[in-house]
């Protein structure tokens, strides 16, 4: 078999077996337990009140900002991984190249900090 495929095949097996276990548990429960839904039971929980308004509505823009900043730092981490394992072979030049990269992003980080984008009230 293909070498990479042989390495990753167990992952697929894990996926299949975990799906099987999960499906069997939920399905089994739906089979053996009596299902008696009625309007009050299947209404959304809202402290005993009648639900008002739709739950899916606009939300604070701050959550988007967190997600965007996360993408940027995630990419930074992604750049760090190959650097970390080959630092021994690319020597000082590679080290300083990464320092410059991190330096530029630190400028951005300081900008965020000063703008108060990291604060949550």
């Amino acid at each position: 078999m293909h070498l990479v495929l042989a390495n990753y095949f167990p992952v697929l097996v894990f996926l299949a077996i975990a799906l099987g276990i999960g499906g069997a548990m939920v399905g089994g429960s739906m089979l053996v337990a009596r299902q008696m839904p009625y309007a009050e039971k299947v209404s959304a929980y809202e402290c005993g009140f009648e639900a008002f308004g739709d739950a899916r509505r606009r939300f604070d823009v701050r959550f988007y900002l967190v997600a965007i900043l996360f993408i940027i730092f995630d990419l930074e981490v992604a750049f760090l991984f190959p650097w970390a394992i080959s630092l021994g072979r690319i020597g000082l030049f590679g080290f300083f190249s990464m320092l410059a990269f991190l330096g530029v992003l630190t400028v951005g980080f300081i900008y965020e900090w000063c703008k108060g984008a990291l604060e949550w009230e």
């Binding site: 293909h2 606009r58 988007y64 080959s86 690319i90």
Partner: protein
């Protein structure tokens, strides 16, 4: 009988194409994003089959783990009005169709005129080294041979960071922030005042009724801060 890797290649490709089609056709935007995620997964599977383990994992970490989360946030929280959308479709359909036709024509011209250069293999900048895995191989060239591109990518990220803040960040009025330095540097003397109170003397008589009248704003400050910080 086809080999196992060929089987998985066709399996991943088929699911990739089907889910990509579902992204554009599904009516519910949340379903569309979920199909997009399925497409990313299968693309990662194809990367794996090509032996590019690092790229496959980065695809999952960056695109599925971060970019698609943002997409999901956006489509879940911006309540898209479908009726309005549908009206818009009718209004903009002719323009859209014209742009689509031009694009399609151009793509078609490119596909017709396409031919693979005969010496394509020898044009590769850095051939994959045989005796190491591709994460090492990437690390050996990315930070030294391609240092300018690498630095440019940091600038792009910087622009993205600043752009995101400029576009989305607003300081809201009427909210309280915790100021740690202020909390830590308060001393007992600023907030507490010990008084000798005579028996039977009222608060008004002694002038210690709180809050004090508006005339002395300096005295009011610590109280306000106390309420904000002490949870």
């Amino acid at each position: 009988m086809i080999s196992a890797s060929a089987f998985f290649f066709y399996l991943f490709s088929a699911i990739l194409l089907a889910s990509a089609a579902a992204v554009v056709t599904s009516r519910n935007p949340v379903h569309a994003v979920l199909f997009l995620i399925l497409a990313f997964f299968n693309a990662a599977g194809l990367f794996l089959l090509a032996g590019a383990e690092f790229l496959a994992m980065i695809l999952l970490i960056v695109y599925v783990g971060a970019v698609a989360v943002l997409f999901l946030f956006v489509v879940m929280m911006l309540d898209v009005d479908f009726v309005q959308l549908r009206e818009g479709v009718q209004k903009y359909a002719p323009v859209g169709a014209a742009v689509g036709a031009v694009l399609f024509g151009e793509l078609w011209a490119v596909v017709l005129g396409w031919q693979v250069s005969p010496g394509a293999d020898s044009l590769q900048g850095s051939p994959t080294p045989a005796n190491m895995d591709n994460t090492h191989a990437l690390g050996q060239v990315l930070y030294t041979d391609y240092v300018y591109l690498f630095q440019v990518s940091s600038l792009i990220l910087l622009v993205a960071m600043i752009g995101a803040i400029v576009l989305t960040h607003r300081r809201r009025e009427g909210t309280r922030r915790q100021n740690i330095t202020m909390q830590q540097t308060r001393s007992v003397r600023d907030t507490l005042e010990t008084l000798q109170v005579r028996m039977g003397a009222g608060v008004q008589e002694l002038g210690i009724l709180r809050p004090r009248p508006r005339a002395e704003p300096a005295e009011e400050e610590p109280r306000h801060e106390h309420a904000a910080g002490d949870h």
